[in-house]
Symmetry: C2
């Protein structure tokens, strides 16, 4: 499969989740969180093909059970109701009942079947849901396809994020313009293997639910599953996508000539959100990208990239703008990937630090200065095969400790 990203996919700078045809959004403040919006809604004016991926944590919050049940019914959704501030996790039978109540109230307000509504929650675990704030306010959510309301939604899903995360891309498929928008939240508890944040993707492409699930899995493995903040994995999180079909392209399947373009569109949207999440890891000051080539295969490349970008010692070195390649090579060594210690090459930015597994002369000042940038690229060539892969993360800072030593107080 040859992807020609430059030609076929373009970023829509002001685009949002309501840019694709058929989608509306809303967000408001109900008082669960102190200041920011804490209740959000996405609505599609037709039943949209839906697919979702969920946290791999064995303890899953009530809204995930309800959303799975909704999608299992016929693979279609018309709405997603999301609250932040309370995760509705470890809340037992009452939590399950509350998630169903949120679904039912939303379905009634929109006059759609209950099983076309998904439910999401994020926030503190183990507290009963503030239903007195959420339920009466569902009718006050004012849906529109205006960018302001998409922004209101994007704010409503945040927890310790410093700001909203939204993106939009377009591609031509069958001569039709296909648009895909995305909105996400991240911050703590972000670790490979998914589920571990909230991301909502909307598109006007025509595609069946099972094919959408297939494409979403593929894109997620290369994007959301390649970011790590702290190795923790939440009980709550999901990536959910809805396709309205309003672009009227021929229904997409892997046999469609433009299938690779659709996958690429989905990947571009997911990668952009994934990087925003990584950059906004709790307390982060920098986005770290680790690009691995020459691995035995792509899986091993990603394994090395994730291990390096997740290493607390690498993360603190990047925070300190310290070109400490010793920590990079130690992380490579413990990744479990096939390595030849005498063949590894490592660069930070464009400067080679390590050739044949041994340090070469370089200007520490120059590399350290490069590392003051917002984006720090670490490149690794293992020189044992043709596999390549990337992972994204952030530096580990005083603020990570401050935020997490006092999250509840």
């Amino acid at each position: 499969m040859v992807l020609t990203k430059q030609n076929s996919i373009k970023k829509i700078e002001m685009g949002t989740i309501v840019t694709p045809a058929g989608f509306y959004a809303a967000g408001m403040h109900t008082g669960v969180k102190r200041k920011r919006n804490d209740l959000g809604l996405i609505y599609c004016d037709v039943p949209a093909s839906a697919a979702a991926l969920y946290t791999l944590n064995a303890i899953q919050a009530a809204p995930l059970h309800v959303t799975k049940e909704s999608i299992a019914e016929e693979g279609k959704l018309q709405a997603v109701i999301v609250n932040s501030g309370n995760a509705n996790a470890c809340t037992g039978a009452q939590g399950e009942a509350d998630a169903y109540t949120m679904r039912r109230a939303t379905a009634r307000e929109l006059s759609v079947p209950e099983h076309t509504v998904a439910v999401s929650s994020t926030g503190i675990i183990g507290l009963d849901m503030p239903m007195d704030k959420i339920i009466p306010n569902i009718e006050h959510l004012t849906l529109s396809s205006d960018a302001n309301d998409a922004a209101a939604f994007s704010e409503s899903i945040l927890t310790t994020d410093t700001g909203p995360k939204a993106t939009c891309y377009q591609a031509e498929i069958d001569g039709e313009t296909i648009t895909m928008g995305g909105s996400a939240k991240g911050s703590g508890m972000i670790e490979p293997n998914m589920g571990t944040m909230l991301a909502y993707l909307t598109t006007d492409a025509a595609i069946e639910p099972d094919m959408l699930h297939h494409a979403l899995k593929e894109a997620t493995d290369k994007t959301f599953n390649c970011i790590t903040i702290d190795g923790d994995t939440s009980t709550n999180d999901m990536v959910l996508t809805m396709a309205s079909g309003k672009a009227e392209n021929e229904t997409l399947t892997p046999d469609h000539k433009d299938w690779p373009i659709f996958v690429e569109l989905l990947e571009a949207t997911c990668e952009d959100l994934a990087k925003m999440i990584a950059r906004d890891g709790e307390g982060a000051t920098k986005l770290i990208e680790v690009a691995v080539t020459g691995a035995k295969d792509n899986d091993e490349a990603v394994k090395v990239a994730k291990t390096v970008v997740g290493s607390p010692l690498v993360k603190t070195a990047v925070y300190g703008s310290d070109p400490n390649w010793g920590r990079i090579i130690a992380a490579i060594g413990r990744s479990g990937a096939t390595v030849d210690p005498t063949a590894i090459e490592t660069s930070i930015g464009s400067v080679k630090l390590l050739v044949n597994g041994q340090p070469v002369a370089f200007s520490e000042e120059a590399v350290s200065e490069y590392m003051l940038n917002d984006n720090v690229l670490i490149s690794i060539d293992l020189n044992v095969g043709d596999g390549s892969g990337k992972a994204w993360g952030c530096d580990l800072t005083y603020d990570y400790v401050r935020i997490n030593a006092s999250y509840r107080t």
Copy 2:
């Protein structure tokens, strides 16, 4: 096997690695590190049965290769030469040659065969060894069986440790008093699966090398492999034990009636050092012990304990004395162990926070006050089986970030 720890094993408060018969130690400052001792030596006046375990990192430093070669020769050691400040890792052919030179110089000075000398290094990776400081000083090491020289050795192996770590235990075997001493260093890059620190154990027990290896593996799996500081794994580290046989017990094998006592002696010594290492994790203010019961089996119990004690979110919550059981249960859920979300019980100290997977009323103030202690115990009952296990770690603090964002500068 029934262990009666209270009766058979006793801690020797002032004991060290030179308390067992036959052992001598030395430590001195050569200028590789700024102030603290940086060159150390353990000597046994007879060829001692030897066994060692090494880091699982695929990139292993030169001294490990040399030590493996020494022990492989006939399973006997008379000396270990250790330097700190430079790890002699990623130093290529020159590094290998330097490790051999250290071995040769030590053997010559002690008039023992080269293959009875082990070599250890710890410190910065990728710099050439300061052989001009190390080699000429080997002859200035003054060995004795005095506690002061054991203390000088204990200091000589430290890197970012705040202080030395030494212990000593005794047991009766065959009516003979068997003594075991230990000295260790830890701090950063400490993670289960071994190798990831330096620990030297001396004993006057009579035991063959292969049996010693067997016992060491068993004890290490329950102690050193159950601590985690930051998930990173060093290229250098090892646990090494030497048995002089001077206690003149009947040679120990698993068929010996007192074999369990010997294993227990070894475990007690290793556990004490392991806890000291965990407590002295970089920037740590508290030792965290996680005790898991009711797991499917012991392996799963240890898996849960390690995941919880290694979670950055749990570590920061402990630092902030925040009884945030939501993070504990999230870590349990992602551990990969068999769990029933509705059966989990969790306590901090003696206070139950969670019963049947749901929070119970407790005094946050009281638990928070308990968490101001130096030792914080988190107990988890999974209620799905009979497995139990423990792990140890430390809190994640501003100082971890400070130390690691500026280690080299």
